[in-house]
């Protein structure tokens, strides 16, 4: 994973939705919103563009298909490369977070700004 550019937030959460097992498109949208506390709301067009790209990059792969109410559901799962990329990004962010949080003990908590509002990815 060396040399991979920094992962964008929607991609990070999209990959993170698949940590507990394969999900289909609707499942990924719902789960990404849940685990990001509403910060990441993926539009369907954006989601499928990301799924295509991540599949091409080998970070996710189609897992299985099923038909529900006459409609096709394709499930996606993390590949070993995807899991490794997600871990690398998580460690990078944790390291960056520690840099700030470790100083918090010696600084006033009021100097920290409020979290950013929810982002919509259309």
């Amino acid at each position: 994973m060396e040399g991979r550019p920094e992962m964008r937030e929607p991609t990070y959460y999209l990959l993170a939705t698949l940590l507990d097992g394969p999900l289909h498109g609707h499942g990924i949208i719902k789960r990404a919103e849940e685990i990001s506390n509403g910060r990441v709301r993926l539009a369907a067009g954006t989601l499928y563009a990301a799924l295509d790209r991540l599949t091409r990059e080998g970070l996710i792969a189609p897992a299985r298909e099923e038909t529900v109410n006459g409609r096709l559901r394709q499930y996606y799962e993390l590949t070993p490369s995807g899991t490794a990329a997600l871990n690398t990004e998580a460690h990078r962010m944790a390291k960056a977070a520690r840099l700030v949080i470790s100083r918090r003990t010696t600084s006033s908590a009021s100097t920290f700004p409020a979290p950013r509002p929810a982002m919509r990815y259309a």
Binding site: G25, H26, A44, G45, T46, Y48, D52, R71, R73, Y121
Partner: protein
């Protein structure tokens, strides 16, 4: 209710290429229906815009750009084609202006044949590049300025001719070297020329006396190219920006060009390149 919403979503999904729809269309429509609310009849604006933009991005091939550098490399060949197209536009202008200078005198063969040969060389070079015959295209592009300075079209010699040839060869060589060193770009790249070529074609409108129409058309087409570069695909904006910047040496022939045209080319070219660079760096919406 669902059938109506599905029909409306399917209309929006026409922005995707048919091959993509054949492979992924049913899965996407299934997800869209699943995330819709009970009783919903119209696509939400956010979903609709996302569908249309994503479909156009798939058509453009921008979703398959693996790096910002790829966007720049893909823009070199269109930029060289645009340099050649601009040469043809300039030859048409020069020919019409020389007709006006005749003041009733008969038209000589030299007046017509020289620009015709120049246009044939530039057009041939552009067609060769479009057909991926890169070496032939570059060779013809290098020959393009020679009819203006060599017999049988010209028997006199002037240091200005050296300047003319050099300012033509510099951008051609500058674009040709990276073009010939890279592998041929995959994907649908020819459509990238549509907006920039229309912008160049609008430069011919003043010949029919439509000055205001020409100005409005040029401004609108440049704006369209910029917006396209920001929202969809950076490559047409980069190609047009490269054209404007590499053409500047050819403009260093008069004070009026230095005062008005060079700053305009620099500004517009710089804005287009910046927009393209930003889009290339953030080419994936998620």
């Amino acid at each position: 209710m669902t059938a109506v919403l599905e029909r409306r979503y399917r209309r929006l999904m026409r922005s995707y290429p048919q091959t993509w729809l054949d492979e992924r269309g049913e899965e996407l429509i299934g997800t869209l229906i699943e995330i819709s609310e009970p009783g919903q009849q119209w696509p939400k604006l956010r979903e609709a815009s996302s569908l249309v933009l994503s479909g156009v991005r798939v058509r453009s091939g921008v979703d398959r750009l693996e790096s910002p550098g790829r966007a720049w490399r893909d823009s070199i060949r269109p930029a060289l084609v645009l340099v050649l197209a601009l040469q043809i536009v300039m030859q048409v202008w020069l020919t019409v202006l020389s007709f006006a200078d005749l003041d009733g005198a008969p038209v000589t063969w030299r007046l017509l044949v020289m620009p015709a040969v120049t246009c044939a060389l530039a057009g041939g070079a552009a067609l060769a590049l479009l057909a991926a015959r890169l070496r032939l295209g570059v060779a013809l592009a290098l020959l393009t300025p020679l009819p203006a300075v060599l017999p049988p079209f010209n028997y006199t010699w002037d240091t200005y001719f050296v300047f003319m040839v050099v300012v033509w060869w510099l951008p051609v060589i500058g674009l040709a070297v990276p073009l010939l060193r890279q592998q041929s770009a995959p994907g649908p790249w020819r459509w990238q020329l549509a907006l920039p070529l229309l912008s160049l074609a609008s430069l011919l409108l003043p010949l029919s006396g439509l000055y205001l129409v020409a100005l409005v058309a040029l401004v609108l087409l440049l704006a369209a190219c910029l917006v396209w570069g920001i929202v969809i695909d950076p490559r047409p904006a980069i190609a047009l920006g490269l054209l404007l910047l590499v053409t500047i040496p050819q403009l260093l022939v008069s004070v009026s060009a230095l005062v008005l045209v060079v700053p305009a080319f620099t500004l517009v070219g710089g804005v287009l390149l910046t927009a393209g660079a930003v889009r290339a760096a953030h080419r994936n919406p998620a």
